[in-house]
Symmetry: C2
Subunit: 294 residues, 2 copies
């Protein structure tokens, strides 16, 4: 088997386990209020690559930790990511109608319930960490996830993104934006895998750096796909970033140069990951990410 077969197999094996565990993390479908629960399930159970939870599991695997130990953190990250999609899609934010190939939550359930479903999923992410991990691990994981997701991380990146609309940013400014908006959560994902598996501090730090580079590469590839893809391929609107005047690296540097930056970041992540006990699957994921088409 090639390296690429290994990572594809890993994803194929683990994605159903993540999906099943996500289902268990959600309140029962018949719980009240019914429409809120339905909106949450619509968002969480509507497909998606589950890439961030896979990164959590890869973080645990890279330190030879048990994957089961990292499953709650994997779900927490996906719940948090899902909330961020719901809120980003709101009319007052990116105003998107399509997500993961289906109408966005606010298009189906209305704006108020979309705000609340996002709030509830963000809250649930921290409940899952606090309630499903061992207490010392839970506290550390909660702090790492919150820092990555808050005003100095993902939410801050989203605010910068809105501010930047229609302005021309420099390359360092765009990279800073990508790191906050996207890479911070990837970094936390890999770290959470290590933390769940009770890895050495040094390895957790390496996992964080790997995630930062890989996450930035992921965002650049995403921006390239936004330019090249069709809505059918992407499961969301295409070329909206350019229409909105969003600051992206492909827009600033051109597609070829931006693709080269993504490759370089991916290679840097692979290089850094050599400091881990078992980096092979992470290296394989880094290469797979460059080839993705959605």
């Amino acid at each position: 088997m090639t390296e690429q077969d290994d990572i594809r197999q890993f994803i194929a094996n683990q994605r159903p386990r993540v999906e099943a565990e996500l289902e268990r993390c959600l309140p029962p479908a018949e719980a009240e209020p019914a429409r809120l629960q339905a909106a949450m399930r619509y968002a969480v159970c509507g497909g998606g690559k589950r890439l961030r939870p896979i990164c959590v599991l890869l973080g645990a695997a890279a330190v030879r930790g048990p994957l089961d130990s990292a499953l709650p953190a994997a779900c927490a990250v996906e719940l948090l990511h899902t909330y961020s999609l719901i809120h980003d899609d709101l009319p007052c934010m990116d105003d998107d109608d399509l997500r993961r190939g289906r109408p966005t939550v606010h298009r189906v359930y209305g704006e108020a319930l979309a705000v609340l479903a996002g709030d509830a999923l963000l809250t649930l992410a921290f409940e899952v960490l606090a309630a499903h991990l061992l207490p010392p691990v839970a506290a550390r994981a909660g702090a790492v996830l919150a820092r990555a997701a808050g005003s100095l991380g993902m939410v801050g990146g989203q605010a910068l993104d809105l501010e930047a609309e229609g302005r021309r940013l420099s390359e360092p400014e765009i990279l800073q934006l990508d790191r906050k908006k996207t890479a911070a959560l990837f970094s936390a994902s890999f770290q959470l895998g290590g933390i769940s598996a009770r890895a050495d501090e040094g390895h957790i730090e390496v996992l964080g750096r790997v995630g930062l580079d890989l996450g930035t590469a992921f965002q650049i590839v995403d921006d390239l796909l936004d330019l090249r893809g069709t809505p059918e391929e992407l499961g969301k609107a295409a070329r909206k970033d350019r229409e909105r005047g969003k600051a992206t690296l492909p827009d600033l540097l051109g597609e070829e140069e931006a693709a080269a930056r993504a490759r370089a970041l991916s290679e840097a992540a692979c290089e850094v990951s050599r400091g881990l006990p078992a980096p092979d699957l992470i290296v394989a994921l880094a290469r797979l990410m460059l080839q993705r088409s959605r």
Copy 2:
């Protein structure tokens, strides 16, 4: 000194400590993105009764625990409460222009930044618990706060509240709504005080029940004030609940009967609190709450 003097003194002493600690919990004012940080500070540092953090501290005091141990949890609860106000005031929710006597966050910073500031404060609440409490305490506190704040608690109550607009609810339905929307967070507040002070399980359970009754009484009094008060007294719009067709107990039962329900709940909370080592300040707060004018 009377019982009422004692609790007024306690609040007067502790409120500035909570305010100072809240300031420390927020990212530095000069952090990026500047407008997001400004919106968060505008919301958090704009006054408010700080009643929920006072309840956290009272929870610790009632089990004779050190108040300092409960200060991080007190801040976490206030950050979480502030996020809920920002999101509740949004145009797609209650569409309020005035809060704590000032324009609401979305009126000053726009809707997108109001959504993000709320998201960031909710996230920060869990970061403060995870990072500022001892790990075993942090995990327990995070689970209790998340459960109270999520789709089966506060956010669920907000969803029920929206669903109920223009419908006539029964008394048990309204009480259920008040419990989720408001009392769940009061209950968590008192519990968090006990948890921070490492109280016995039995006492934590009593604190939770006290908070549920007191929080429900608080909501009924709030609904009465909404009918009687002026915007100047309340620091927010008055009589909007009735205009919106919100389901409240005063609307269903009349003001006198609703006030009697609030008194009964307050008395029940006092009765339950007798199971705590030092319930006097909680009893005093319960009585003070019935007299409040904003």
